[in-house]
């Protein structure tokens, strides 16, 4: 009588904590390795955005991909500097931008243009029908000063915030805004004819697709 009641009270009381105490058993992992794999995985996931940013900066697909390759290498070499949890996209854009600017600086020293390549490229868009050619947005972008171009692209195309774009370009938020305003004014000027057509009908947005980069080369050669 007394024996059964005590064992009945003790039994569940002893069993409960033992069986249900640690429900989460963590599988063994190698934290350092997963950290690195994650970094490279994230970089891989951002490659399309990097290629698009590079192309909008320099306007040349092959050159842009070279920039992205440099960016990936630099990012990997300096991966210790990246703080987990901060914005990898903005960090990579910053590196790509630096690569682009240092390349620009090198190019300035090679501007002698022995093969006349620059001269021939300049001849592509004579002033009087510049507007016609510049219906192509990517071409119009290249007409902008690079600081305006990058500000516009970072905020309006890549989805970075003004603050993030300011970090990438290492300027104040207000500077980004004024650069975007100037870029917008210039593009409205250059693409104005398109603008009236596009705003006329929303359905027209898709049909007015961007011509490929190497369109309208026919008149040159």
């Amino acid at each position: 009588m007394s024996g059964s009641s005590t064992s009945g009270a003790d039994g569940p009381g002893n069993d409960g904590p033992q069986s249900g105490s640690e429900p989460t058993t963590q599988p063994p992992r190698k934290p350092s390795m997963t950290g690195q794999d994650k970094f490279l995985d994230q970089v891989t996931a951002l490659l399309p955005a990097l290629r698009a940013f590079g192309r909008s900066l320099c306007g040349d697909p092959a050159r842009a991909d070279d920039l992205v390759q440099d960016t990936v290498l630099k990012a990997w070499t300096n991966r210790e500097q990246f703080q987990t949890g901060s914005n990898l996209k903005a960090w990579l854009f910053t590196i790509l931008r630096n690569c682009y600017y240092s390349e620009l600086r090198h190019r300035k020293f090679e501007i002698e243009d022995p093969d006349g390549i620059c001269a021939s490229q300049m001849a592509i868009a004579p002033d009087h029908d510049a507007k016609l050619h510049l219906r192509d947005l990517s071409r119009a972008l290249q007409e902008l000063p690079v600081d305006q171009r990058e500000a516009l692209v970072l905020v309006c195309a890549t989805g970075l915030s003004y603050e993030e774009a300011a970090d990438v370009c290492q300027v104040a938020v207000g500077t980004i805004k004024s650069r975007i305003a100037r870029a917008r004014d210039r593009l409205v000027e250059l693409l104005g004819e398109d603008a009236t057509q596009v705003t006329g009908s929303l359905a027209g947005v898709n049909s007015l697709s961007e011509p490929t980069v190497n369109e309208r080369r026919s008149g040159v050669s």
């Binding site: 891989t44 399309p48 996209k89 692209v153 195309a157 917008r184 693409l191 947005v205």
Partner: protein, 62 residues
């Protein structure tokens, strides 16, 4: 992880997005976005996969 980078709690995400569309007309903003996503939709060239593979191998080897 990647998605969360733009939406930290407490940040005025809505306000920022709104001011960007205030600054740039829709037709231009849309074309810029589409120009960008057109490139993003392209398949990534193999040279990048090779490069990433090299880095991965380096990491494991080191």
């Amino acid at each position: 992880m990647i998605m969360s980078e733009q939406t930290k709690p407490g940040e005025p995400v809505e306000a920022t997005a709104a001011s960007a569309t205030e600054q740039v007309p829709d037709w231009l903003g849309n074309r810029l976005k589409r120009m960008f996503t057109d490139v993003m939709d392209e398949p990534v060239p193999d040279e990048f996969k090779d490069l990433l593979k090299q880095l991965e191998d380096k990491e494991r080897g080191a």
